[in-house]
Homo-oligomer: 260 residues x 2
Amino acid sequence: MRSGAKTTELRLIPVAGIPLIEPGTDLVSLICEITENQGPALRDGDVLVLAQKIVSKAEGRYVDLATVEAGERALALSNDVQKDPRLVEVILRESRQVLRHKANVLIVEHRLGFVLANAGVDQSNVDPRRGAEPVLLLPEDPDKSARLLHEGLRRRLNKNVAVIVNDSLGRAWRLGTVGVALGAAGLPALRDLRGQPDLYDRPLQVSETGFADEIAAAASLLMGQADEATPVIVVRGLTWPAKASSAAQLLRDAKDDLFR
Amino acid sequence: MRSGAKTTELRLIPVAGIPLIEPGTDLVSLICEITENQGPALRDGDVLVLAQKIVSKAEGRYVDLATVEAGERALALSNDVQKDPRLVEVILRESRQVLRHKANVLIVEHRLGFVLANAGVDQSNVDPRRGAEPVLLLPEDPDKSARLLHEGLRRRLNKNVAVIVNDSLGRAWRLGTVGVALGAAGLPALRDLRGQPDLYDRPLQVSETGFADEIAAAASLLMGQADEATPVIVVRGLTWPAKASSAAQLLRDAKDDLFR
């Protein structure tokens, strides 16, 4: 046993009764009220995983396509990818560069470094009252969102609750989206096990694990894509080394990446 | 709520006391004996996640590098990637093609379609009694391994227990390994939510989720890389549509993949 976590049962507990989120919602207050009244009461060492979408909604990250004018580049690209030129314009504004595109597919490097389809700009589950043709962007800075939530929970509850902002992203090589961490606070996003002995007491070779991503994927199992009733999950039973890091640590440097 | 799973708590329970696995071990008997005696008693609807390594060990998938002669191609490539030419020879035998390589990095398409480093050939946690310089290959056919375990558990316990064989793999774009499903039986590896209404009753756009991969990642949180005491995890509380599929369904066709 290298860590107490490994013999402990892990529990993932949905926080029931999260309402549709309006811009300006104080998520710390909302989550504290719900968990204090209906449970689960948050504990030191819990990880709170929030769906990106509710964080974006609370931050009011809507853009109304009806107000967007597509530039030349968006017009040309929209033809290739068969998407609304105004949507492509919004995607380009959120992106550092386009990595791949073909009909119905537009893979970009987001301005924050995430590689994902459509820069995370989403037309599903977007509140239609937010404009004539509203779309929703990723949070402005998901690591900062996670940090503010982590600090807010500590202030309000005097508990050390780690926070992950997750989203379901597509992948190279494999089909299906999986939950990944866009933002993290209060835990190490990446865990370095290199140098630890293996079972036969030789040093382990490659052992950096995407800890926050695995937690994000686990929580995603309970969130469901079309179900905003469970966008907040409590993960209980993990332990980790004291040193925390942001989810930005999970991003491979473009220059070291053989697949972009 | 689209599914009963979403309101239910999810539990991940390590199966304690799994010994070091020898070639020929009957994993069904071993797991039944341990779970019957010490718990957790397996139930209908449980998912049993097994680390690839114990499945490979039970299948005796050892190769002794001392018996391997590197061919010309392996010799040339080993120079570029700075690995033992005999190890590179074994990796090439397990692979359809080399996708990328540089010093210390060798990314291949495995003969079964997985894209991963070193074709999954592993020198860590390998029983040193299995040869002068033993390495361990992936299971011969992890979907078949999962199916045999699934059927064996049904026969022995008269319970419907889904099975996933997982491994920790690296990824494009992001650092850190995450658990993925190499084999699956008794559940849909990929779940297609397309066509379901979103929160505001419009059709969801892209909603195929890597269900088995998210379960594999969740279980990986409890397994630990250097800790073979917890290579078997019970995941309890998920529900899924009746239609099961193998993990091969998670593999993107090479011709549709923009990143290989």
